[in-house]
């Protein structure tokens, strides 16, 4: 596995060189950092703790056409992304990369979702190690870390004046070949600095939860009062789930324009009442209490039961963005006490 470096001003050059990739990288638009296809290398920003919207939207866009059809006719045009167009996801945080591998278990479970699968297979993931985790990060509690390499093809460290780039997989090496001459090979100095930075970052993680036992505990709390307690101030909005890198629920709708139609899927969330609303009008999760319970239980009980891993990477987004301070660590704490 190779180790490289390049000076900051060369970042543009490096990206410039990546011609035969469709590059997705963090860009700041209207005051928000978000992963988007990079048309102009100068648009990239690496000045962020983490993006508001997780890069799950690269693999699993919020709205995606599944196929098209003609109203009245029988003919449909299914459309699945070609595995051939190579994608490069550049600069995502290790927690979000970890989320990819977690949700893959579902995308490739009983039904293999061609849309996500093809994107995942055709993409190279270049992570970006955290040096300054935010106050609500708790990735270390879930087996991740600021410089965790799981599920990355390469990882990038910001060492002040230079970037230190370390490849992890063949895909990573292949990517490095494409980076052009801006890249120089790195030495012990950079390696040491990077390792040191990684350690420091871990030190800086201030919040944590002992996940052990929660999964077993939750089923017993199905009718516990804590859900009402937290949900009484819940707005029932989609922030915590839409911004969660592992949440993956979607809705499917047909849309028509004159006689042209498409079937599309779009993000859905278990925090909306409509999510479980039956056509009959009956709703098995009548209040936000059941929905809050479901959100936590799904991440910390149902998913691990089925796939052996907790569907949470501790990125802290749901805590940071909840407008009414519903704090998942607070909830999990109560779960353990209960």
């Amino acid at each position: 596995m190779g180790e490289y470096k390049f000076s900051k001003e060369n970042l543009g050059k490096v990206l410039e060189a990546l011609k035969d990739y469709k590059v997705y990288a963090p860009q700041k638009k209207a005051d928000v950092v978000r992963f988007q296809e990079l048309s102009d290398p100068s648009e990239i920003t690496l000045e962020f703790t983490n993006t508001n919207v997780p890069p799950k939207e690269i693999m699993f866009p919020q709205t995606e056409t599944l196929f098209r059809f003609k109203v009245g006719g029988q003919d449909i045009e299914p459309r699945v992304p070609e595995p051939t167009d190579k994608m490069l996801v550049f600069g995502l945080r290790p927690c979000d990369a970890r989320a990819y591998s977690i949700v893959d278990k579902l995308w490739q479970w009983d039904f293999i979702d061609p849309y996500v699968k093809n994107r995942r297979e055709s993409s190279t993931i270049v992570g970006f190690a955290c040096s300054e985790p935010c106050a609500n990060c708790f990735c270390t509690s879930l087996g991740g870390g600021p410089a965790d390499e799981e599920n990355l093809d390469a990882i990038l460290f910001d060492l002040g004046e230079v970037f230190y780039l370390k490849t992890i997989t063949e895909k990573g090496d292949e990517f490095v070949q494409k980076c052009g001459e801006a890249l120089e090979s790195a030495g012990d100095v950079e390696r040491k600095n990077a390792q040191a930075q990684g350690k420091e970052a871990i030190e800086k993680i201030r919040r944590s939860i002992e996940v052990e036992g929660i999964s077993e505990k939750l089923p017993g709390l199905f009718n516990d009062a804590i859900w009402k307690e937290f949900s009484s101030r819940c707005l029932g909005c989609g922030i915590c789930t839409y911004l969660c890198p592992t949440c993956h629920c979607f809705d499917i709708q047909d849309e028509t324009e004159a006689l042209d139609g498409r079937r599309a899927r779009m993000w859905d969330t278990c925090m909306f009442a409509e999510y479980t609303l039956h056509a009959s009008g009956h709703n098995p999760r009548p209040t936000r209490a059941e929905r809050t319970r479901n959100r936590i239980s799904h991440k910390y009980s149902y998913f691990p039961e089925k796939f052996g891993v907790v569907a949470c990477v501790g990125c802290g987004r749901c805590i940071n963005f909840c407008p009414v301070n519903i704090d998942i660590l607070d909830i999990l704490g109560k779960v353990k006490e209960a």
């Binding site: 009245g72 006689l259 009008g281």
Partner: protein, 674 residues
């Protein structure tokens, strides 16, 4: 019904060449036949003709069509025709949708391609809507064969007589002790100068004696509930303290009343006096006496003289009954005619005319009582008499002033009262008649003599030597200590400021909405036009109808009128009411609003916007929780849909014009597919 498969038939009309000459009707039918849900699309020379209709009926029967589109003329022309047609073939009449390809295409566009293109789109939109049409049922309600007439002036009297003569029951309710209204107060009527009382009193007697009319004088409508055909009215019969069964109207009681001649008479506009027990005027109907509870000593003080109320003592019929109480009667009627009349403008609101301080400044209506033979002076023109009717003088210089309280923004009355010009001309004539030497001047803004015989009369009056000066007096005040008045005015023809002397000034006061008009508004939820009078349903085409079905207007409560216009409108109102009662049934709108009670949050926006008071909030048990939700009274709803547009959640919708029926039309008409 809505779930079942849609089988739509489209029928494109040539209308001879009216449509076919411009629109390629074959192409339109061809286009329609390809639209989803369309099983048949035909074109035919005249869809509205019998064979045309037969075409549709046969297809309905043979192909089992469940939606029909007719692309022809405006639905305002033939919607009824085709609804009837499909109903005859067993389809719900509201499964029809029309595309207006004549008025909106062939007649207004030259280019055949453009017109055809548009016609296709209009048809497609109709199909899109037809998809979501729902069956509606046309409800009919019975009409109670009785009419409530409120107000027994000439308007109410006339309406009541017409309806009663047609054989229907009438309840005629009058607030004051006698029928007759303002017309009874008038001396002569313009321009014919026949005696007002002489033409009115026979009708007054008729209403009292008519077997179909139940007359309730000294009574007031308290509340009305229900809707067209089925009103329930509560009427308060105020206590007269006189047993009308026993009272013979002899009048001895009034002579003996301790307050006789001490209380200003309403009928005589305060120039004449009455007692606490009184008959408003000699020809009053019913000729029954009434005790005025506000003045009667026995009632106000609880004691009348040492030996008790003189009226009671003197009444041989023993009709006086101080224990009498108000009585509430409830009547059921199918129709209502509001004929509550007007008030005359109160000149106190124009203090510059000195009405307050000068007894020889009087209103036109006071003058009517003054010149009336039945009036306090027996028709002699004597002003400035004291309370006992002593003294006074005969005026030498009389001035009449137009537009007092009319056409005058400063008092909030922009409108013309329509009668003042003529009644002042008439009054001027009457003075000339009685005091030939009097110098008479009329100050006017314009003279509006638009009626039959009006202009001729106005001419005649001027020829009699009455001076008309164009000018709007700014001030009237007393000069010195005799009763001479000075009228400050600018002659707008010569531009000269004048100080005109007069010893009698008659103010041509205008007509205003009654002070108590609110009572009726609140009872029936009627609206007012900007002038404050009742608002008719349509200024041109429905001048006697109101927004409330079954409630009609007659006379000056709808706006100033002279007697013939009032009578005409009264007859109009009567026949409108009769139409309903004669048929005995009334169809209520089928395209009404409907509330989805599960979605309604009870905010009441719809209740606020409904012009017909058709929506109210009612309690709803939602899984054990009691909530308020909107509820539509289908008999009151007219289907305008204001509620549907006001509702934030779309919980209230108007049948045949629901959001889900309009949005698809928008989609079709918006999207460009050519």
């Amino acid at each position: 019904m809505n779930g079942s498969k849609k089988k739509i038939g489209v029928y494109v009309c040539h209308c001879g060449i009216n449509i076919a000459a411009v629109v390629d009707v074959k192409a339109v039918a061809e286009y329609a036949s390809k639209l989803p849900g369309v099983v048949v699309a035909r074109d035919y020379s005249y869809m509205c003709s019998d064979p045309g209709q037969a075409l549709i009926k046969d297809d309905i029967r043979e192909m089992g069509l469940n939606r029909v589109i007719v692309a022809s003329c405006s639905p305002r022309m033939h919607e009824r025709t085709f609804r009837k047609a499909i109903a005859e073939a067993g389809l719900n009449p509201y499964f029809l949708e029309m595309a207006n390809i004549r008025e909106q295409c062939s007649w207004v566009h030259e280019d055949p391609d453009e017109a055809t293109e548009k016609a296709k789109k209009l048809v497609e939109a109709a199909v899109a809507k037809a998809y979501l049409l729902e069956p509606l049922e046309e409800k009919e309600v019975d009409v109670t064969p009785a009419c409530l007439v409120i107000g027994a002036g000439i308007a109410g009297i006339q309406a009541a007589l017409d309806i009663a003569d047609a054989g229907f029951k009438v309840y005629l309710v009058e607030k004051s002790p006698s029928v007759g209204g303002h017309m009874a107060q008038l001396d002569k009527t313009f321009p014919t100068l026949d005696c007002s009382a002489c033409i009115l009193t026979p009708k007054m007697v008729d209403v009292a004696s008519h077997p179909n009319i139940e007359l309730m004088t000294y009574s007031q409508v308290e509340s009305v509930e229900g809707f067209v055909g089925n009103f329930k009215a509560k009427i308060r019969k105020k206590a007269r303290f006189v047993d009308t069964e026993k009272c013979t109207g002899c009048g001895i009681c009034a002579e003996n009343c301790r307050l006789a001649g001490r209380i200003p008479s309403e009928f005589d506009e305060g120039i004449g006096m009455r007692g606490a027990i009184y008959l408003p005027f000699p020809q009053a109907v019913p000729a029954k006496y009434t005790i005025d509870p506000e003045h009667c000593l026995q009632i106000t003080k609880g004691k009348c003289g040492k030996e008790g109320p003189a009226c009671k003592a003197s009444c041989n019929a023993d009709a006086i009954d101080f224990d009498q109480k108000d009585e509430i009667v409830e009547v059921e009627v199918g129709t209502v005619i509001v004929a509550t009349g007007y008030d005359v403008f109160d000149p106190h609101r124009k203090p510059e005319y000195g009405y307050e301080e000068n007894p020889n400044v009087m209103t036109g209506l006071e003058f009517e009582r003054l010149v009336s033979a039945s009036g306090p002076t027996g028709g002699k023109i004597i002003v400035g008499r004291d309370r006992k009717g002593e003294g006074g003088f005969e005026p030498k210089k009389v001035a009449f002033i137009h537009c007092v309280g009319s056409r005058d923004k400063s008092v909030g009355n922009e409108y013309c009262s329509r009668v003042c010009c003529m009644y002042l001309a008439k009054q001027a004539h009457l003075i000339k008649d009685k005091l030939p030497d009097a110098e008479i001047t009329v100050f006017y803004m314009d003279v509006r003599a638009f009626g039959k015989g009006f202009e001729e009369f106005y001419d005649r009056v001027r020829r009699e030597g009455i001076r008309y000066v164009r000018g709007n007096p700014s001030e009237i005040f007393k000069k010195g200590d005799d009763h001479t008045l000075i009228i400050k005015v600018e002659d707008t023809l010569t531009g000269k400021p004048l100080e005109h002397e007069a010893d009698l000034v008659v103010l041509g006061v205008g007509l205003e909405p009654r002070g108590d008009i609110r009572e009726i508004i609140d009872i029936f939820k009627l609206s007012q036009s900007t002038d404050g009078f009742f608002l008719e349903a349509h200024p041109k085409l429905r001048p006697v109808d109101t927004a409330v079905d079954g409630v009609f207007l007659a006379g000056c409560c709808q706006g100033p009128k002279d007697i013939p216009d009032t009578v005409a409108q009264a007859k109009g109102a009567a026949s409108s009411a009769l139409m309903l009662m004669a048929s005995g049934k009334v169809k209520v709108e089928a395209q009404v609003s409907v509330v989805n009670k599960d979605e309604c949050r009870g905010c009441g926006l719809c209740v606020e916007v409904c012009p017909f008071g058709a929506i109210e909030l009612v309690e709803e048990n939602r899984q054990g929780n009691i909530v308020m939700v909107a509820n539509v009274n289908e008999a009151l709803c007219k289907g305008c849909g204001s509620c549907a547009a006001a509702c934030l959640s779309g919980a209230i919708q108007t049948k045949s014009f629901k959001d889900e029926q309009i949005l698809p039309q928008i989609a079709v008409l918006g999207v460009k597919t050519e």
